[in-house]
């Protein structure tokens, strides 16, 4: 056994048994300890993420970023936390106090809870649920509820507009995401994330690159990050749902968003990039944690890359993109994957993989052709003269 965590767990189980604990109680104590370990690990990651985010943004914008406190500015996030903790907390007049205070707690707690089902190695997993994919979708949506509560309870019209936009945005992008999640489930014949990781002798991203792309885009939309950051568009509605939040309450929203982005990275790498699997992981299981974090940070970095290179998308374009492009594409992908998987059931791995990849490439090609013709008609439609209130003035101007 070269797996320290399981070794400690077994040692504790035996120790508690010799102390005369009943088996049920031992299970509860061990589960409690496991929860604390995962939650503290995730919180430490979160503090680190603040530094990563600020440093990478700075690099994208050709700045240096935090570099005064400690080596490479590594102590900066701790200074940030202290500043947030001792800041005055302002509650706007007329706010719904209970919901107002509950919103940041809900937004942050749900993100931590998502880590319960993400496997770190073949024995290191919080809980190997057999419905983990549905669990992720359900708990992920609860975080959105926190944003809606914040916008509603703040007694501020900009915050309310932000909350409304969240509803339409998350509701629209949840559909293609849930449909695309079917594809890894079909490939693995299981909803448990651990089973999905086990099934990836060939990474799913080779078998279903389009599904991976759809999940990547919808994950950014679920996070409410640029280019889908209409819920906190600074230039339109100041800060959206968190406009009235100060101090640590704002800090919880901020930290929750960063952690959610990394969680999406971990989920994406578990579903499509083989999760904790990598060289030598069978001999040294603890390496799995390293591989998972490496892949998650890669995806996290890609999300940041998109965020800092793209302009914000307009709301009608956003909804059109979700409903009229991603949803039909996801439905087509489910059909193609289902039929091909059944048709090539007994063929060799090489034929299976190249068949899936070829099907994806053909669909990408067809989609690009369709998009081009759509763009052409749309350009024509937009360029057409619009009816005006004073035709005589319009005629004189042109």
């Amino acid at each position: 056994m070269s797996d320290p965590i399981n070794l400690i767990a077994n040692w504790l189980r035996n120790l508690l048994a010799t102390w005369g604990f009943s088996p049920g109680l031992i299970n509860i104590v061990l589960a409690l300890l496991g929860v604390l370990v995962i939650a503290v690990f995730v919180l430490l990651l979160d503090v680190f993420l603040v530094w990563v985010e600020r440093k990478v943004v700075a690099r994208f914008q050709d700045r240096l970023g935090p570099n005064r406190l400690g080596p490479f500015g590594l102590i900066q996030p701790i200074a940030d936390v202290i500043k947030l903790l001792i800041k005055e907390d302002i509650t706007p007049r007329g706010a719904d106090r209970i919901i107002y205070n509950l919103a940041p707690i809900l937004a942050f707690a749900t993100v931590i809870t998502l880590w319960a089902v993400i496997p770190f190695s073949h024995s290191l997993i919080g809980s190997d649920l057999n419905v983990a994919v549905l669990y992720i979708v359900a708990v992920g949506a609860l975080g959105t509820l926190g944003i809606i509560m914040a916008g509603w309870a703040s007694n501020n019209k900009f915050a309310l507009i932000g909350a409304f936009r969240t509803v339409s945005q998350v509701v629209s992008y949840e559909v293609p995401m849930v449909i695309s999640l079917l594809i890894p489930v079909i490939l693995a014949h299981s909803m448990s994330i651990q089973d999905i990781v086990y099934s990836q002798n060939i990474w799913n991203i080779l078998l279903a690159p389009l599904a991976a792309l759809i999940i990547f885009i919808t994950a950014i939309a679920e996070l409410g990050r640029a280019p889908f950051d209409l819920i906190e568009a600074e230039s339109e509605i100041v800060a959206g749902f968190n406009i009235e939040y100060t101090g640590m309450k704002f800090g919880l929203f901020y930290a929750g968003e960063l952690l959610h982005a990394l969680t999406m990275g971990a989920l994406f790498s578990s579903l499509f990039l083989g999760g904790w699997r990598g060289p030598f992981v069978d001999q040294i299981p603890i390496l799995g944690v390293f591989y998972l974090l490496l892949k998650s940070f890669l995806i996290y970095w890609a999300i940041m890359w998109v965020k800092y290179s793209m302009p914000r998308i307009r709301i009608d374009h956003l909804l059109n993109f979700g409903w009229k492009f991603l949803t039909p594409l996801a439905l087509v992908m489910v059909l193609v994957t289902a039929i091909l998987d059944k048709a090539m059931e007994n063929m060799s791995t090489l034929v299976y993989t190249s068949g899936m990849l070829a099907a994806n490439i053909i669909i990408i090609w067809l989609t690009v052709i369709l998009l081009r013709s759509y763009a052409k008609t749309e350009r024509k439609r937009v360029a057409e003269p619009k009816p005006v209130a004073r035709p005589d003035l319009a005629a004189r101007r042109s």
């Binding site: 302002i90 931590i112 509701v171 640590m248 009608d316 409903w323 289902a338 998987d341 059944k342």
Partner: protein
């Protein structure tokens, strides 16, 4: 083993809110508190806020929520089909395909009815 899994989730759901609650409790104890009416005003554009904030919202959002509800519920029915995929005979796969086509027909109906148009 199954009950152990759900026990873990249950404990996690109870423990997870404790961390943000602690994070909010510390500033409650040590941060300065000097509220005054001007400070507590809503932060909006350069005027004092007019009228009630909690208005009835636009019906457009409601239609998107309805469409979402239909699609999400139908997709949930597809998950058991996807899990049992390995043991399915070909006609069951065909039935799943039929179901997805009906789903797509619903989408086309919504599209043609202009329910997906932002106004």
């Amino acid at each position: 083993m199954q009950s152990q899994d759900w026990l873990f989730i249950g404990i996690f759901l109870m423990i997870a809110p404790i961390f943000p609650i602690i994070a909010l409790l510390i500033p409650y104890l040590i941060a300065p508190k000097k509220p005054n009416p001007i400070k507590d005003q809503a932060y909006e554009c350069g005027m004092e806020t007019v009228g009630d904030t909690w208005v009835q919202f636009k019906v457009q959002y409601y239609i998107f929520a309805l469409a979402f509800l239909i699609f999400d519920v139908e997709t949930v029915f597809l998950f058991p089909w996807a899990v049992a995929y390995g043991q399915l005979p070909f006609y069951a796969v065909f039935e799943g395909v039929l179901f997805v086509v009906i789903l797509a027909a619903g989408l086309v109906y919504l599209w043609r009815k202009d329910a997906l148009k932002w106004v």
